[in-house]
């Protein structure tokens, strides 16, 4: 007579939304930048993007399902996000097998072997990009002809040692719009900011990490960016060039590879800025975003350990284990 009742632990109410929905939002947020890439570099950029995504899907399926024998979770869309982000970090002229290989490495060896979504300690796209960069440095830094047919050096390369050789920096407007040499998805600041704005509105990301990251890079490059005088660095070019904007809004905000607490996130972001600026100013590399991201990713457990939030009502002296 009495109905069979389900007994579960409270709460009995759940919010709308899903992890898959968050991933979909990220994909949607990348569309303006992908559009800008096809506009500036031509429809052919869709090929490396597609191969990177296919590689990411294949890598996740191969490692997760075929090797580790776990369930197929391709539907959570995270592999597609990884593939797209990797693709956007590749030069437009990248050989397609490399794009595929990079995608596969990202999901198979940076994500799935560590337990899959949420368990990876390093941003998969950044990890794979650094692998490709170290394995094929020349292919990863040959930017091909730019719009007006001039063989391109990236603005950061010009800033580093090109100005002396007589190469001119693009003006800030062009840096903002994105018609300059660079990885195919990183060049249009305008398009990236449109996507980032969407993510903020959808409450997928918060601005603390990107803003602290950008502010730190700006501050350091302004202070030390000029070899002859303090506070004379060309920080606007630094902020608008390279992969900084892409990384600040789409890589540094990656949930799995940033600290959990708010204080930890700020420390993480400042660290990203510091490492990025130091590499750009003081090493042989013109760009340091990928290295900064994976280095700080490795420091996240340490940051987490020292930034456990104080529970409400805990004694004033910080509670630390």
């Amino acid at each position: 007579m009495s109905p069979t009742l389900l007994v579960t632990s409270s709460p009995h109410l759940r919010a709308q939304g899903s992890s898959q929905g968050i991933m979909l939002d990220v994909i949607l947020a990348l569309i303006p930048a992908l559009g800008a890439a096809t506009y500036f570099f031509g429809l052919t950029v869709l090929l490396p993007l597609t191969f990177a995504v296919l590689g990411a899907l294949a890598g996740e399926y191969g490692m997760r399902v075929l090797v580790l024998g776990r369930d197929n979770r391709l539907a959570d869309l995270s592999a597609i996000v990884t593939g797209l982000l990797l693709g956007m970090n590749l030069p437009p002229s990248i050989p397609l097998p490399l794009a595929f290989l990079g995608g596969a490495i990202a999901t198979a060896f940076v994500k799935e072997v560590f337990g899959g979504l949420g368990m990876n300690f390093m941003n998969p796209a950044m990890g794979a990009r650094v692998f490709l960069f170290l394995a094929w440095p020349s292919l990863m830094t040959s930017w091909g002809p730019t719009l007006d047919g001039v063989a391109g050096a990236t603005p950061l390369a010009i800033l580093k040692d090109g100005e002396a050789a007589g190469q001119a920096l693009p003006d800030l407007f062009h840096l903002f719009i994105g018609d300059r040499a660079g990885s195919l998805g990183e060049t249009s600041v305008l398009a990236l900011l449109l996507g980032a704005g969407y993510l903020v509105l959808r409450k997928v990301i918060r601005l603390d990490v990107p803003l602290v990251y950008l502010a730190t890079v700006g501050l350091i490059t302004w202070t030390f960016g000029n070899k002859t005088a303090l506070f004379a660095g060309n920080f606007p070019v630094h902020l608008l060039s390279g992969g900084l904007i892409l990384a600040a809004f789409f890589m540094a905000t990656d949930y799995a590879t940033q600290p959990v607490s708010r204080v930890g996130k700020v420390i993480f972001a400042a660290g990203l800025g510091l490492v990025t600026a130091v590499i750009r100013l003081y090493t042989n590399y013109p760009e340091g975003v990928s290295f900064a991201v994976i280095l700080l990713n490795c420091l996240v457990p340490l940051i987490d350990r020292y930034t456990v939030p104080k529970p409400f009502g805990a004694p004033k002296a910080a509670q630390r284990a």
Binding site: T8, P11, S19, S78, A321
Partner: protein
């Protein structure tokens, strides 16, 4: 100005207060009541009646000499048919008294309004009334009103937040019984020697706020404070913070920050008891949820079986899959409709499959929404991970015991992970470990 009164974290919930505009309907006594002898946080009462006894309304049927207990009274007149253990919500066996109603509702003749001339008499009267915290926790009121000698209580906080979805029983109590509420507040302030009382209420209840301001707001020392509508505004620590800017230390009580918090319905009951001497034998209950034919507030006798309450509310419009006593965030899912309304029942909700069955959990993406939502500033994702691995070191490091199980983390989790359930498991693991350590120490002492 709203931010000032806002605690950290929390969640915006759907209100679903479908019964707000329905005046309370009095349900006649059922044929049989089932009254558990544990209707409070603390020690179970000993039965004072046995099978075959004739009892009257307001007669004590269970009591305890322990401090952390409140006496249990018969809510009907009739014959005791059974005194035995029954499976109760939460999977525990509870001693219950079943009484077959004679339909006359004869009150116990010896019931007279209590004589209250000093604080000791007042506290004794509160104990006799059987009052427990009616907001949901069931903390014995006489214990709450007797803070440790060192405490210098300066403020009485009335909890009218009613922040859980669906529930409107406190709201209806304010609209229908505001003069009793004022009487209760004045009684408490007089007997406890307090000059300040703050009524905290969420700002999504304008009619109740207007009524409170009209009736209670003019009384000396009493103020009505509308608070932002955000769950869990009615949680004791959050309410104390919102109204007085004081934070209760972990593991301590409101009296440690010089306040006493009472639920509105508890307070208005006290005034009623002072007038009539009739102990706590009935309760206003919100009967709602998608499966209830006529959602409404019902005044029921304590011990009324759930099936009778739902039948009184028009029965089920569709087959229920889950029945919850309390709100959807912190309420307890019932295994059977044969359990009964207790003193601190404020709602009975019936959900169908769509709302009752929880979605399957997927992988944690470490988005941090759970820790952003935690009003206690905990890291639910870390507690979850530690509990699933029985990692006692991490469980204590991340402050598991500070969790009040409000449910915000599970609510906001996009991966639908059962965070609160895991945290409960973690608490149990810590308690077991503590008990083992104690036993080992005792063993060594011998």
């Amino acid at each position: 100005m709203f931010r000032r009164n806002l605690f950290r974290g929390g969640a915006h919930l759907p209100h679903l207060k479908t019964t707000a505009d329905h005046p309370t309907v009095v349900m006649p006594p059922p044929n049989k009541v089932i009254i558990p002898l544990l209707q409070h946080m603390g020690v179970i009462c000993e039965p004072t009646v046995q099978e075959g006894d004739f009892v009257q309304v307001g007669q004590i049927i269970g009591d305890s000499h322990k401090a952390m207990a409140a006496p249990v009274h018969s809510s009907v007149s009739g014959t005791v048919t059974n005194v035995d253990f029954q499976l109760w919500a939460g999977g525990i066996q509870v001693l219950t008294v079943e009484i077959e109603t004679d339909g006359l509702q004869t009150p116990l003749k010896t019931l007279v309004p209590p004589t209250i001339t000093n604080k000791a008499e007042f506290l004794a009267a509160v104990r006799v009334s059987g009052l427990v915290g009616l907001g949901g926790a069931g903390f014995p009121a006489h214990v709450k009103l007797s803070p440790p000698p060192g405490a210098k209580i300066d403020t009485l906080i009335i909890n009218a937040a009613e922040c859980e979805p669906y529930i409107t029983s406190d709201y209806r109590e304010i609209l229908e019984n505001s003069s009793n509420l004022l009487g209760g507040i004045q009684l408490l302030m007089r007997q406890l020697g307090l000059s300040r009382c703050i009524i905290g209420i969420e700002d999504n209840k304008p009619a109740a706020i207007a009524e409170l301001k009209k009736v209670c707001g003019r009384a000396k020392g009493v103020s009505v404070m509308p608070l932002p509508t955000r769950y869990p505004q009615g949680a004791e620590k959050m309410l104390i913070w919102a109204t007085t800017r004081r934070s209760v230390p972990t593991g301590k009580f409101p009296s440690d920050v010089n306040v006493i918090v009472m639920n509105v319905t508890s307070v208005s009951f006290l005034a009623e008891f002072a007038k009539t001497g009739m102990p706590l034998v009935k309760k206003k209950v919100t009967v709602a949820g998608p499966c209830v034919a006529h959602p409404q507030n019902v005044e029921v006798r304590i011990g009324t079986p759930l099936k009778d309450v739902f039948a009184f509310a028009g029965g089920f419009s569709s087959q229920p899959r889950k029945v919850i006593m309390g709100g959807p965030m912190m309420g307890v899912a019932q295994h059977s409709l044969e359990t009964a309304v207790v003193k601190h029942t404020n709602a009975l909700l019936a959900f169908g499959s769509e709302d009752g069955e929880l979605p399957e959990a997927s992988a944690c993406i470490r988005c941090g929404r759970c820790s952003d939502a935690c009003p206690m500033s905990l890291l639910p994702l870390e507690l979850h991970r530690a509990a699933l691995r029985n990692n006692l070191e991490d469980l204590s490091k991340y402050g598991t015991m500070a969790c009040m199980e409000c449910g915000c983390c599970s609510f906001v989790c996009p991966s639908k992970i059962h965070l609160v359930q895991a945290i409960r498991l973690g608490k149990t693991q810590l308690r077991i470990a503590a008990a083992r350590t104690l036993a080992r120490a005792e063993g060594a002492a011998k």
